[in-house]
């Protein structure tokens, strides 16, 4: 590095930029761009992890068959009301986005995004196996559904609790700064530690929660093996774990809001909850968007909580996409198929990144 600095006068700005960017580009290219395209390449093959390791010719190009095998089935049909709840919700979503755009309450990009999501919600659940048909991979779509449920519960959970905490802790006292640190602390723990702590918390024998339930005369819930509580258990764990970053982002956003606004609001009798609703929230809109989109992208990649706490069970109710990818690749050695699922996950996360990009530009 020092030798570069000494010669800096001899380099043009563009050259210097390239020199400085080079280490990053090399690492980025080697560890992100190359593996990404390699992943897509592998997903087009019948590729056994171990067999190919011992014999590089053991792979076979199969085109999009892996995608077909995970996402499609025999005799798949489409009907407008195969899954009424979701599909009616989809139609309603389309209506709402048209209405919002019509009455100018939502920007064009927001309306399009909401509209697109609603159309997908209407179209996708309509596919189902017809007479004598079945999905090639019975577990894939339910796993996608579980992942979406997980994200759908975790993201609002994290966002709302982080927002409430941030608003409560946004004061310049020592106690508050201690509390802020405490609430952030869970974030620095690794997933193994977090899941260990919560496995003990949820244990029906020695767990804190079970002890509390028994104290109030209830019989303890077997959280991790009960169909109706297992997902809740890993959602609670995740909210506790990932509260910190969201809270810090909200605190930063809160400190950007001018005190004048609150003073002006106070003159109009807007204090406490009212001030929060009419002053704080509208000013935090941007931060909320960032937090929500970041959390969505982050939590689609959930793995450890499901893998370590519930093993995806009971009856696959907490099986999530990354765990399925992991099992397919390493337990079953089917790297091609696993890569196809990974590409699917990438498309989902990629679309949310694009959404964030659009929403971010809009605010400018």
């Amino acid at each position: 590095m020092t030798s570069i600095n000494k010669r800096r006068n001899h380099l043009s700005e563009a050259q210097a930029a390239w020199v400085l960017l080079l280490p990053f580009l090399a690492v980025y290219g080697a560890f992100l761009v190359y593996p990404f395209f390699r992943g897509i390449w592998i997903s087009l093959h019948d590729w056994n992890l171990l067999a190919v390791a011992f014999n590089p010719d053991a792979r076979e190009f199969v085109g999009v068959r892996n995608y077909e095998r995970i996402m499609w089935g025999r005799n798949i049909e489409w009907a407008a009301l195969a899954h009424p709840t979701l599909q009616i919700l989809g139609i309603a979503g389309v209506g709402i986005s048209v209405f919002l755009r019509w009455t100018n309450r939502a920007s064009r990009a927001t309306a399009i995004a909401l509209g697109l999501a609603s159309v997908l919600l209407f179209v996708l659940p309509g596919f189902h196996p017809g007479e004598g048909g079945r999905w090639y991979d019975r577990r894939f779509w339910p796993t996608v559904g579980n992942t979406i449920t997980f994200v759908g519960l975790t993201v609002p959970g994290v966002t709302i609790s982080a927002l409430v905490l941030a608003a409560a802790l946004n004061r310049e006292t020592r106690a508050m700064s201690v509390l802020r640190t405490l609430f952030f602390l869970s974030q620095v723990l690794s997933v193994t530690v977090v899941t260990l702590i919560w496995q003990i918390m949820f244990s029906p024998r020695q767990g804190l929660i079970a002890n509390l339930t028994e104290l109030f005369g209830g019989s303890p819930i077997v959280w991790l093996t009960d169909e109706s509580f297992a997902m809740a258990a890993i959602v609670i764990t995740t909210i506790w774990w990932s509260l910190g970053i969201a809270m810090i982002l909200f605190l930063a956003g809160l400190q950007d809001i001018s005190k004048d606004l609150y003073e002006a609001g106070a003159l109009d009798n807007a204090t406490g909850l009212r001030a929060f609703w009419h002053i704080t929230l509208p000013n935090l809109k941007r931060t909320v968007t960032v937090v929500v989109v970041l959390q969505i992208i982050l939590h689609f990649q959930v793995f450890g909580q499901s893998h370590l706490m519930t093993n995806g069970g009971p009856n696959d109710t907490t099986q999530v996409l990354v765990r399925y990818i992991y099992q397919t690749a390493f337990r079953d050695s089917e790297l091609g198929r696993a890569s196809a699922m990974a590409v699917f996950l990438f498309v989902i996360m990629g679309s949310f990144s694009i959404l964030q990009f659009i929403l971010g530009r809009e605010d400018d």
């Binding site: 171990l50 390791a53 019975r138 244990s203 024998r205 093996t225």
Partner: protein
């Protein structure tokens, strides 16, 4: 584990450049802090195996053994990833059920011609043990044990329910109807559950159902790869167990640790678990603070036509790449295998069944705690036909069986789905 790794790393660092040959070793069985090198007093699978490994590292001239940190639950994923990356450990443990997959790929060294020179006598191995490590007539691993599911019994609870005979042995059921009857007797007399097992996490429940299917002469798939799960035999096997759940005489929601704790706390008369915990429960029962005090081990009872219990075998293998590319490490690895083979009696202290005839016939082996109580287990040991998809198939069964007892999925639906999924796996 951390200390072992750091210790091993330090040892490795100090001897680098000297004559010592480092052998890396991958194993499951869990972590044991401070296992020491005394192979005769350690307790529990993790500590016994680690004490043997530590002793090997200390006693074999010019060889140090570095135990790699691995996690039990993800062991095979780690090992496969290591093979795929070209850096497998020089020695690693595996199950007989996994041998088909690894050997089939040519991943493992053929040890047949090198065993005698290393001081390992394959003729001393029990026939079943030699069969277990043999693929296409070649010996691909060194067997360490047979392990099987047993019934671990709390004799105090059985006594209270009047289920102990004149010889002081537990009276166990001989049919599904008797199972329910005796379970009710225990419950009426003690208020406790009759049977506990991990029905919610590891595939112990699967092994239970499999045993009951084998007892009816049926299996989950045929040698030629046809899944046969949606059958009358499977229905009978599952109902034999679910009748206990339905009557409130067993709790399906306990995982491995919780079911073990329930048994040690005296909350269940029977625990279905493997041979690997006999010495552990024996030492727990001696502890006055533990509710379980009168501990007995029984063979898996025959509820249907013929005796059968789930069994598998632990064995040690060396990667083919080590044999081919690194003769010094290969020789050192063979010495470590020989050391482990020599200490088969120490490993048998866990409760596992020995694989060596000389050990099986020894007085020391017969004198191991509770050994005579489950002498019949070797006779009834069974497993599924070999399959490269063994792990995935067990997962399918575990998922669907759990769906039956944890989420009330109708038995027919679960068996139908399991059959489709297993057939898919067999066809791939």
């Amino acid at each position: 584990m951390k200390q072992i790794v750091i210790g091993a790393a330090m040892v490795a660092a100090t001897v680098t450049g000297a004559t010592a040959q480092e052998v890396t070793l991958g194993r499951f069985f869990g972590a044991c802090e401070d296992a020491g090198t005394d192979t005769t007093t350690s307790v529990g699978e993790a500590c016994i195996i680690q004490s043997i490994i530590n002793a090997a590292s200390e006693q074999i001239d010019g060889v140090t053994v570095n135990t790699l940190p691995t996690d039990w639950g993800n062991y095979y994923d780690q090992i496969k990833a290591a093979y795929a990356g070209g850096t497998p450990p020089d020695i690693h443990v595996l199950h007989r059920s996994a041998l088909a997959e690894f050997a089939g790929l040519g991943a493992l060294a053929d040890l047949t011609d090198d065993l005698e020179a290393a001081g390992i006598d394959p003729n001393d191995w029990a026939d079943a043990a030699r069969d277990a490590v043999t693929v296409d007539g070649r010996i691909m691993a060194v067997p360490m044990d047979f392990h099987a599911n047993l019934w671990h019994v709390n004799m105090d609870l059985m006594e209270q329910a009047g289920l102990v005979d004149d010889n002081g042995e537990p009276i166990l059921p001989t049919s599904p109807e008797e199972l329910l009857q005796q379970a009710q007797m225990v419950h009426d007399a003690t208020g406790q559950d009759y049977l506990a097992a991990d029905f919610a996490q590891f595939p112990i429940g699967v092994r239970l159902v499999l045993s009951l299917m084998w007892q009816q002469g049926e299996n989950i798939f045929t040698e030629d790869g046809t899944a046969t799960i949606d059958t009358e035999a499977a229905r009978n096997a599952i109902t034999a167990i679910t009748q206990l759940f339905d009557a409130g005489l067993a709790n399906p929601q306990l995982n491995y640790a919780d079911s073990q704790q329930a048994f040690l706390n005296g909350e269940a008369a029977i625990l279905v678990n493997g041979t690997w915990v006999v010495d552990l429960y024996d030492s727990e029962a001696a502890d006055p603070d533990v509710a379980l005090s009168n501990y007995y081990v029984a063979d898996f009872p025959t509820l249907f036509d013929e005796g059968a219990t789930w069994a598998d075998s632990h064995m040690w293998a060396i990667p083919a790449s080590v044999q081919r590319d690194d003769p010094e490490t290969y020789q050192a690895a063979l010495q470590v295998l020989a050391f482990i083979n020599d200490h088969n009696i120490d490993w048998a202290r866990t409760g596992h069944m020995s694989v060596r005839n000389s050990v099986l016939s020894s007085d020391a082996y017969a004198a191991l705690p509770h050994r005579s109580e489950y002498a019949g287990t070797a006779e009834i040991a069974r497993d599924t036909p070999p399959s490269e998809r063994y792990g995935a198939i067990q997962d399918v069964l575990n998922r669907e069986f759990q769906a039956i007892w944890l989420t009330d999925k109708p038995i027919g639906d679960a068996l139908g789905d399991a059959e489709l999924d297993v057939q898919d796996l067999l066809d791939r």
